[in-house]
């Protein structure tokens, strides 16, 4: 009898379209706790570390932990583990939202994707039933468009993890996007998904997760809940200002990487801080599964050249596109965040890439003729232009981007 775990690993071989289910070895799960532990071990056991990260031999694993979807407070995340094309070592990106819990309600602790489909596909998992379907029509769509299309073709209640156009083009900045706007962002895991011709995974689960001592567990959850809501940081500043509550704090400590790490105090920090986000563009807080904090910002830049709407920006984005690029225009930072979301790329790596280009330009290592426009620290328009240059080719089926 499994408690907390569902007890099943789902393996999908995309090359020969074989789907199999394997029981989870409990002694293993005890040794390697949680989604990260388990998937890291499985990757270690099953895969030759020398394989090319973008070859069919690489394995892509989605993992959840024993607490995911049990109602344990804030246990909402899933991990994406594979060999990272960006770093050459093991990748472990993770993301909150609702996709991880849905995987478990569908009955899986881990999903392993192997091989490579000959044509673009997406996968539809409804509890026991697993289908590999053509994704030809989804290619080039943004993550949000992909999720809408996949849900229309499966179920409106399905949770979707997918890649954006950047992942299809094997961009090393690409992440795996779930719940429309959240990214398991780092290490290029989106490119690995793209290299398998796997555009999306949709899951719907109606199962239940057994608890050994439901009452004891639930009282413990209540205890944690109480601790969190009585903590001035988690329930206070994270709720009020999101993860970007750290901006002013870190800046005041003199540890805020600024202008591509050349400096450590950013004069524009207050203007791009969590406080500024809350004051200027925040519409509402949003929570991940079973999390009382709800630090996610749903924000909107109503008008001007940087208008847009969606989740974020998080601390890392205000840092990478704000301080790192020397840009203190919050609207521009939010816009950069929305662009990254639409491309399906990691806004940390993207911002840091633009910041690095800025330093190279300012120091004269990259001439203006190579870039096409002056790319100075602090220039919000130039930052957005450079950000757009990260757009994958032939995105949006040749449509003009809005």
């Amino acid at each position: 009898m499994y408690h907390g775990y569902t007890g099943t690993i789902l393996r999908i071989n995309l090359t020969d379209r074989r789907v199999s289910k394997e029981p989870l070895d409990l002694s293993l799960a005890e040794k390697f706790v949680g989604g990260r532990g388990l998937t890291s071990y499985l990757l270690y056991r099953e895969m030759d570390p020398a394989v090319d990260a973008l070859s069919p031999e690489n394995k892509l694993m989605f993992g959840t932990g024993p607490l995911t979807a049990t109602g344990a407070v804030a246990a909402s995340r899933y991990v994406v583990v594979c060999k990272a094309p960006l770093t050459g070592t093991i990748a472990c990106s993770n993301s909150g939202g609702f996709f991880g819990p849905e995987m478990k309600f569908a009955g899986y602790d881990v999903i392993i994707f192997e091989g490579k489909a000959d044509k673009p596909v997406y996968i539809w998992i409804e509890d026991d039933k697993v289908e590999i379907r053509s994704a030809e029509k989804l290619m080039g769509l943004t993550p949000e468009e992909t999720e809408d299309a996949v849900r229309a073709a499966t179920s409106q209640l399905a949770k979707v993890a997918c890649i954006g156009p950047a992942g299809e083009k094997l961009s090393l900045l690409a992440g795996v996007v779930n719940d429309r706007q959240r990214l398991a962002a780092r290490s290029g895991v989106g490119a690995v998904m793209g290299s398998k011709n796997l555009k999306a995974v949709a899951v719907l689960g109606t199962g239940s997760i057994c608890l050994a001592d439901p009452e004891g567990f639930w009282l413990a959850a209540l205890d944690v809940l109480k601790k969190i809501v009585n903590d001035p940081v988690s329930f206070g500043s994270f709720r009020a200002y999101g993860t970007a509550n750290l901006v002013n704090l870190i800046n005041e400590m003199g540890a805020y990487p600024t202008r591509n790490f050349l400096e450590e105090v950013f004069e524009g920090a207050p203007a791009t801080s969590g406080e500024a986000i809350a004051e200027r563009i925040l519409l509402k807080n949003r929570a991940c599964f079973a999390c009382p904090i709800a630090c996610t910002r749903v924000s909107e830049v109503k008008d001007g050249p940087y208008s847009g709407r969606g989740e974020g920006p998080e601390y890392e984005t205000t840092w990478s596109f704000g301080a790192m690029c020397g840009v203190s225009n919050l609207d521009a930072v939010a816009k950069a965040n929305f662009l990254c979301r639409d491309y399906g790329i990691d806004s940390m790596s993207a911002g840091a890439t633009v910041a690095c280009a800025m330093e190279l330009y300012e120091k004269g290592y990259v001439p203006q003729s190579d870039i096409g426009f002056p790319l100075r620290f602090g220039d919000a328009d130039a930052m957005i232009r450079a950000g757009r240059a990260l757009r994958p080719p032939r995105m949006f089926h040749g449509r003009e981007e809005t």
Binding site: A69, T70, G71, V73, F98, P101, F105, G205, T206, G207, S208, I209, C210, L211, P214, E215, F217, W218, A221, L222, L225, K226, I228, V229, N230, D231, P232, V233, F235, G236, S237, R239, A240, N251, E252, G254, A255, E263, E264, V265, E267, P270, L283, K284, N285, R286, A287, C288, F289, A290, C291, P292, I293, A294, V298, R309, G310, E311
Partner: protein, 590 residues
């Protein structure tokens, strides 16, 4: 003092403004208000300057402050050169800069970074190396100092002279001072004015300024406002007069020592943050060990002082806030508060007093006071804040929060203090049957209610076959939906098997499992989607209020789900809202 007492007995009018506290802030406010022609009374439990102000180190510095406070400090520093003339007393103001000495290599880099931060805010402050510091202050022991931050526009002044100077000038301008008068509580009279209950009878005023330093927390609490003010104790020592050694104000990177030489020649020094004090007695006992440490410390820096005699020591209390800047804000229509100066309020006291006067006169909060708003701590809950950097949250009554599923707590459910204004009873105190009340604006879409419902009813975690379900209409509108136990219940009318009954004090509609044939007539009849079919039970399931203590409400941290009685008057508003919500959901779910 006796004359004063007699005057109090005769006093029966209402002041425009009553100031509680005769420290630098209170006296400055009294002066600037009286100068504007206001009818001002200042109530002080001891004597003028008997709190932190008379015990202060006298440093007048802008440097080494939290960013948000620097503009206000700069404004105050601009005021200081004019004060001796304005008040007609020599306040012994010296502007020779502030040096913050670095004594350990670990502090060099952080200090340089901190200098950059302050420079970015436009403050004239720079790094001086060891040689430069010792050249500027030859009496410093070279080996003990590695460098310093230097802000040339900083300085120091005599705090007692400035505080009493403001008090005298205020009196001359017409302000009344009542000393030996302890304020015990402040409340609002039906007439709208504030009534102050004191050790010398009641006083009345249109506006009250709480400038009570270490007594502020308690006073505000008497009005129902729990501010995160923690009283900190600072030590002071003073030597006999010695020949001139230096003219600057000094601090150290570790923030545990300050010193200056007074005009009279004595060296006044002391320890910064030594210990938190529970008591707010006006004459706190000296902590011998800390005095010893401070004395040893200063002798390491200025060896010549090793032979000077100490003439006096004292301690003083000043409240700190969690973020290092004061709370200067309106509490309600009548009351303003200015406290929490975190051990360096002397320097900004004059300008705070002046801006408070301006605020009261113009009715508009001056821009420079904007960062000091109270609401920045709104989400701090009932926080017993300890300035050691660790936070210890204390629940007002451990039980009210969860076990009692919200009944009795106000406003945001989990927050007990943020809006604990005892004068306005909340509508939630209504009696009668309780229902689940949902506020979509507070729902964050986390679905904890579904988990709570599932575990309560099935002892497993699942998201289907739950009796409450969050519906998402758009990226900013979502809310849980459950049976609302309608008065006119279509489901009950539809059921021909008597499987739905209504009972209990809360008039719950519940399913009698044995009678249910799973014919689904009730599911179809319910306009809200409040009833679901359960395969496992082969019967319908619906909300049963968990027998009177609904789990969903107990686990809803943002306070979107509350289980409470609703007053008649609230019903109409709620019905209108409900229609609105249904509209939004309908649009989104299409």
């Amino acid at each position: 003092m006796i004359g004063n007492w007699q005057w109090v007995m005769a006093f029966n009018g209402t002041s425009d403004v009553i100031i509680i506290g005769g420290g630098i802030v209170g006296c400055a406010a009294a002066y600037y208000l009286a100068k504007r022609g206001a009818n001002v009374t200042l109530l002080e439990r001891g004597g003028v300057g008997s709190g932190a102000s008379g015990r202060s180190g006298g440093g007048v510095r802008q440097s080494a402050r939290v960013s948000a406070e620097i503009p206000l400090a700069a404004e105050s520093v601009a005021l200081f050169p004019t004060l001796s003339d304005e008040l007609g007393v020599d306040i012994e103001y010296v502007r020779r800069g502030n040096l913050r000495l670095v004594e350990s290599v670990d502090h060099i880099r952080p200090m340089q970074v901190d200098i950059k931060r302050q420079q970015a805010l436009g403050l004239d402050v720079q790094w001086l190396g060891q040689a430069e510091v010792c050249e500027m202050v030859p009496s410093l022991q070279r080996e003990s100092v590695l460098g310093a931050s230097f802000c040339p526009t900083d300085g120091h002044a005599n705090p007692l002279k400035l505080t009493t100077g403001f008090a005298s000038a205020a009196r001359r301008a017409g302000a009344q001072f009542v000393t030996g008068c302890e304020v015990r509580s402040v409340r609002q009279a039906d007439s709208g004015e504030a009534v102050l209950e004191t050790s010398r009878g009641d006083f009345r005023a249109k506006t009250v300024i709480v400038a009570a330093g270490a007594g502020a927390q308690k006073l505000c609490l008497s009005m129902g406002f729990d501010l995160p003010l923690a009283n900190m104790r600072y030590e002071s020592l003073i030597t006999e007069a010695v020949p001139p050694l230096f003219s600057q104000m000094f601090g150290v990177a570790a923030a545990d020592l300050f010193f200056r030489q007074t005009q009279h020649g004595s060296v006044h020094f002391g320890g910064g943050l030594v210990q938190q004090s529970e008591s707010e007695a006006t004459t706190p006992p000296s902590a011998c060990e800390n005095l010893q440490l401070a004395a040893e410390h200063i002798v390491r820096l200025i060896p010549q002082l090793g032979r000077a005699n100490l003439v006096r020591t004292w301690g003083g209390l000043d409240p700190s806030t969690p973020d290092g800047i004061p709370i200067i804000d309106r509490l309600d229509e009548n009351v303003l508060v200015a406290a929490g100066f975190c051990g360096h309020g002397f320097a900004i006291g004059p300008v705070v007093g002046r801006r408070l006067a301006e605020w009261i006169a113009n009715g508009e909060k001056p821009q420079t006071l904007a960062p000091f708003k109270r609401s920045r701590f709104d989400s701090w809950l009932q926080t017993k804040w300890t300035p050691t950097g660790s936070f210890e949250a204390v629940l007002a009554t451990e039980a009210t929060q969860v076990a009692d599923s919200g009944n009795g707590a106000t406003g945001d459910g989990w927050r007990v203090t943020a809006s604990r204004d005892t004068r306005h009873p909340s509508p939630e105190e209504a009696a009668g049957p309780k229902i689940i009340v949902v506020d979509p604006s507070k729902c964050t879409g986390c679905r904890m209610c579904e988990m709570a419902c599932s575990i309560h009813h099935t002892h497993t975690a699942r998201q289907t076959q739950v009796r409450i379900k969050v519906a998402y209409a758009s990226d900013d509108f979502y809310m849980p939906i459950a049976c609302i136990h309608c008065e006119e219940a279509y489901c009950m009318e539809a059921c021909v098997f008597e499987a739905l009954v209504r009972d209990g004090p809360n008039a719950v509609i519940r399913v009698v499992d044995e009678n249910c044939t799973a014919c689904m007539l009730c599911v179809d009849a319910c306009p809200y989607g409040g009833i679901t079919y359960s395969e496992e039970k082969d019967a319908v399931i619906k909300c049963d209020l968990c027998g009177g203590d609904p789990a969903c409400a107990a686990y809803c941290a943002p306070g979107a789900i509350r289980f409470r009685a609703v007053a008649e008057a609230e019903w109409e508003r709620m019905k209108a809202n409900a229609m609105d919500n249904v509209g939004k959901l309908g649009q989104g779910l299409k």
